[in-house]
C-alpha cells in the first residue's frame, strides 16, 4: 500500500461526514506545542482546593501558645515577615505544617493510584496492608531491638524501616495477587489478609514488649505530626516530589487503564509496565508518608473519593486527590490540636472522619 495514495484518498474522504457534528466534545486548549483538554469545573475545583489547602496550612502555623495572625504568617512565608515571627514560623512550626502537607499529598495520590489500578474504591494502601506492613516493621524495631537500638530507631532508622516494611508488604501483596495479570478483587482480598497478618504481628509485638517501648510504639502507631524536625521533613518532601515527577510522567499513559487491560492494550498502552511503575510509586508514596507521620489511617482511602465527587470525575483525579489529602491531614491536625480539650494525635481525627465515610461508601455501593 502506497502512503501518498492513502493521503490523497484521505483528503477527499475526510470531508464526507460533516453531518451531525454538533455533538458536545470537550474543547482543547493549546499553548505552543502543548495541548490538553479544557475542563473548567475540574480546573476550578483544583484551584479552590489548592487555595483552601494553603489557607489551612497558614492557619495551622498561626495557631499555638504564641498565636500569629494569618496575614503575618503569609507575609513571613513569602519572606517579608518580622524576625521574631520568622523564628517561630520557619524554625518551630513550619516542619510540622509542611509534614502535614507532604504526608497528605503522598497519601492522597497513593490512594488515587491504587484505587484506579484495582478499579475499586476500597483498594487504598491502608486496606492493602501497605501501611500496616510499614507499622509492623517499625514496631518490631522499637520493641524487639529495645533500648540498645534506641539511638538508631529515634530518627532516620525508624523511617527507613517503615519505608522498607511498606515496600516489602506492597511487593508481597502484588506478587501474591498476580495471576496472568492483576485482578482488582483478588488484589483487595489478598491485601486484606496480609493486612490482618501484619496487625496480628504488631499486636503480638506490643503484648510481649517492654512497657516503655510499647508506649513509644503506640504513640507512633496512631499517626502523629508532633515533634517533626526539618531533617525528617526534608527527606519526606524530596522523596515525595521525586515520586510525583515519576507519576506525572507516566500519568498520560495511565488514562486508558481505567477501561481494563484489553481496551488499554488496544489503545496502544503497555499496560503491564505502566501499572507496575505506578503501583510501585503508590507503595513508595504510602511508605514515605508512614515513615514521616506513622500510619495515619483513612486519608488515602477517603481523599480520592472526595476528590472524585468534588471534581465530578468518573475516576480519581490525581492532582485533586493529593490536594484533598493535604487539606484533610492539615485540617485534621488543626482540629486535633485546637478544637478538643486534650491535644490528640492527628490519626485519631482522620479515623473518626474516615470511618463513617467508609461506611457511607459501602452503604451506597450496596444500594446500587
Amino acid at each position: 500500500m502506497n502512503g501518498a495514495d492513502v493521503e490523497a484518498k484521505g483528503a477527499g474522504a475526510a470531508v464526507d461526514v460533516k453531518a451531525d457534528v454538533r455533538a458536545s466534545v470537550a474543547p482543547g486548549v493549546r499553548f505552543g506545542g502543548v495541548s490538553f483538554v479544557w475542563r473548567p469545573w475540574v480546573a476550578g475545583v483544583t484551584l479552590l482546593l489548592a487555595v483552601a489547602g494553603f489557607l489551612v496550612f497558614c492557619l495551622s502555623i498561626g495557631v499555638g501558645d504564641f498565636p500569629i495572625a494569618l496575614p503575618r504568617v503569609v507575609a513571613t512565608i513569602l519572606g517579608r515577615g518580622e524576625q521574631v515571627d520568622e523564628f517561630v514560623i520557619m524554625d518551630l512550626r513550619m516542619p510540622r505544617a509542611l509534614a502535614g502537607l507532604v504526608v497528605g499529598v503522598a497519601l492522597g495520590v497513593s490512594g488515587a493510584l491504587t484505587q484506579s489500578i484495582a478499579r475499586n474504591p476500597l483498594a487504598s494502601p491502608d486496606v492493602l496492608g501497605i501501611t500496616s506492613g510499614a507499622g509492623a516493621v517499625a514496631v518490631f524495631l522499637v520493641t524487639v531491638s529495645g533500648g540498645a537500638a534506641t539511638a538508631v530507631t529515634d530518627s532516620v532508622g525508624l523511617s527507613a524501616a517503615a519505608l522498607a516494611g511498606g515496600l516489602g508488604t506492597g511487593l508481597l501483596v502484588y506478587f501474591m495477587a498476580w495471576r496472568r495479570g492483576i485482578d482488582g478483587f483478588r488484589l483487595i482480598l489478598i491485601g486484606i489478609s496480609v493486612n490482618a497478618v501484619m496487625q496480628a504481628i504488631t499486636t503480638w509485638l506490643l503484648v510481649t514488649a517492654d512497657i516503655r517501648d510499647v508506649a513509644r510504639a503506640q504513640a507512633w502507631l496512631v499517626g502523629s505530626l508532633d515533634n517533626r524536625s526539618w531533617d525528617e521533613v526534608n527527606v519526606a518532601l524530596w522523596c515525595t516530589l521525586g515520586l510525583l515527577v515519576v507519576v506525572a510522567s507516566v500519568a498520560f499513559q495511565f488514562k486508558p487503564l481505567h477501561f481494563g487491560d484489553e481496551v488499554a492494550a488496544g489503545l496502544g498502552v503497555r499496560y503491564g509496565a505502566v501499572r507496575a511503575v505506578l503501583l510501585l510509586c503508590a507503595v513508595l508514596l504510602a511508605g514515605v508518608a508512614v515513615s514521616a507521620a506513622g500510619p495515619v489511617p483513612f486519608v488515602a482511602l477517603v481523599a480520592p473519593q472526595v476528590a472524585m465527587r468534588l471534581a465530578r470525575c468518573p475516576t480519581p483525579p490525581l492532582v485533586a486527590s493529593g490536594l484533598v489529602g493535604a487539606l484533610l491531614l492539615t485540617g485534621s491536625d488543626l482540629v486535633a490540636r485546637t478544637a478538643l480539650p486534650v491535644s490528640l494525635p492527628v490519626g485519631v481525627v482522620t479515623a473518626a472522619v474516615g470511618g463513617p465515610f467508609l461506611v457511607y461508601l459501602l452503604v451506597r455501593a450496596n444500594r446500587r
Binding site: 500500500m1 484521505g10 482543547g28 481496551v263 496502544g268 468518573p314
Partner: protein, 287 residues
C-alpha cells in the same frame, strides 16, 4: 446511511492482505489452544470467525490483535512481525474491541470516545482540534451524537455497544477487530449493531469479528472462518462454506440449510429433538 472515512487514512487499498497469521501456536500455560494455524484476512471485507465453544476463536482474534503472544509462528501486520512493532504503532493500524468492556461509572459518552484518540496523542499533545473533529465524526457515524453528554452506564446495551464501536472508530484504523460485538444484546439490537459494522466495512475498512449466532454470521460476513479444536475447518464465502455436513462436523449440530427467504445467503435451521417433523427432513442429513 453511508458511512465514510473518519480521519481519511483508514481506507483500504485493494490488494494483499494486511493481517495474517503464519503457523501460530497459542496456549495458556502448557495447554495449547491453537496449534500451527495459518490464516490471511482478506482486505476490505467482513471476516467472521465461528466455531463451537472453546474452539479457540477468541484466542485467534486476540492473537491477531497482539493481546496474546503466540508461542510459535508469527502474526504479520502490513508485512511486519506484529511482535516486533511498538504497541502504539499497532494501535494506529488496528482497532480492537474486547468482549464486554466496562467503562468507569459516570464516564460520559464523548469522553469515552475521545479516549480512542490515545494512540495519536502524547504527553505534551494531549488534545487538539483535529481530535475533537474526529471524535465528533465517530459519534455521528455510529448515531450516538445525541448521547454525547450521557454517562455510558445509563445507556441500553445496544447503545453502549455503539459507543464502544465509536471509540474504536475514533482510533482511525483501517482494521477493526471485534470480539463478540453482539454479546448480551437481544436480536433486534444485535442486528442493529451488525448493520453498523456493515456500514463501516462499506466505507473500506477491514473487519474481523467473532460471532456466536451462525445465521447472523452468515448474513453479515463476506468471509467465514470455521474453527474446531484450534484448527480451521473451512474458510470462504458463506454460500460456499455453510452446508449441513460442515455444521455437523464443526458443531455436531444436525441442521437443514435452506435459501434465506429475505436474502441471498444460506439460512441454517437447527433440528434438535423436539417439535420437529422428522419425515420432513432430507434423508441425506447426518443424524
Amino acid at each position: 446511511m453511508v458511512v465514510q472515512s473518519i480521519t481519511g487514512t483508514e481506507t483500504e487499498v485493494d490488494g494483499a492482505s494486511r493481517l495474517a497469521a503464519r503457523g501460530i501456536t497459542v496456549g495458556y500455560g502448557a495447554r495449547s489452544v491453537i496449534d500451527g494455524l495459518d490464516v490471511a484476512i482478506p482486505p476490505g471485507v467482513i471476516t467472521t470467525i465461528i466455531g463451537p465453544n472453546g474452539c479457540g476463536k477468541s484466542t485467534l482474534l486476540r492473537t491477531l490483535s497482539r493481546l496474546l503472544r503466540p508461542t510459535g509462528g508469527t502474526v504479520v501486520l502490513d508485512g511486519e512481525d506484529i511482535a516486533a512493532l511498538k504497541t502504539r504503532e499497532v494501535a494506529k493500524k488496528l482497532g480492537l474491541l474486547p468482549q464486554a468492556p466496562v467503562a468507569p461509572e459516570g464516564l460520559t459518552v464523548s469522553d469515552l470516545v475521545a479516549r480512542g484518540r490515545h494512540p495519536h496523542q502524547s504527553w505534551l499533545r494531549q488534545w487538539s482540534s483535529d481530535d475533537a473533529d474526529v471524535v465528533r465524526r465517530a459519534l455521528a457515524m455510529t448515531g450516538v451524537s445525541d448521547l454525547a453528554d450521557r454517562p455510558v452506564d445509563s445507556l441500553s446495551g445496544g447503545q453502549r455497544q455503539r459507543v464502544w464501536i465509536s471509540m474504536t472508530l475514533a482510533q482511525g484504523t483501517g482494521l477493526l477487530l471485534l470480539d463478540e460485538p453482539t454479546t448480551y444484546l437481544d436480536l433486534a439490537h444485535a442486528v442493529d449493531v451488525l448493520d453498523l459494522v456493515d456500514d463501516l466495512h462499506e466505507s473500506g475498512r477491514t473487519v474481523v469479528m467473532v460471532l456466536h449466532d451462525l445465521n447472523l454470521a452468515t448474513r453479515y460476513s463476506d468471509n467465514l472462518v470455521v474453527m474446531r479444536e484450534g484448527a480451521i475447518l473451512a474458510q470462504g464465502h458463506p454460500r460456499d462454506v455453510i452446508t449441513a455436513e460442515l455444521l455437523h462436523e464443526a458443531f455436531g449440530l444436525r441442521a437443514k440449510v435452506i435459501d434465506d427467504p429475505v436474502g441471498d445467503r444460506p439460512l441454517i435451521v437447527p433440528i434438535g429433538r423436539t417439535h420437529v417433523e422428522l419425515d420432513q427432513l432430507a434423508p441425506e442429513l447426518p443424524r
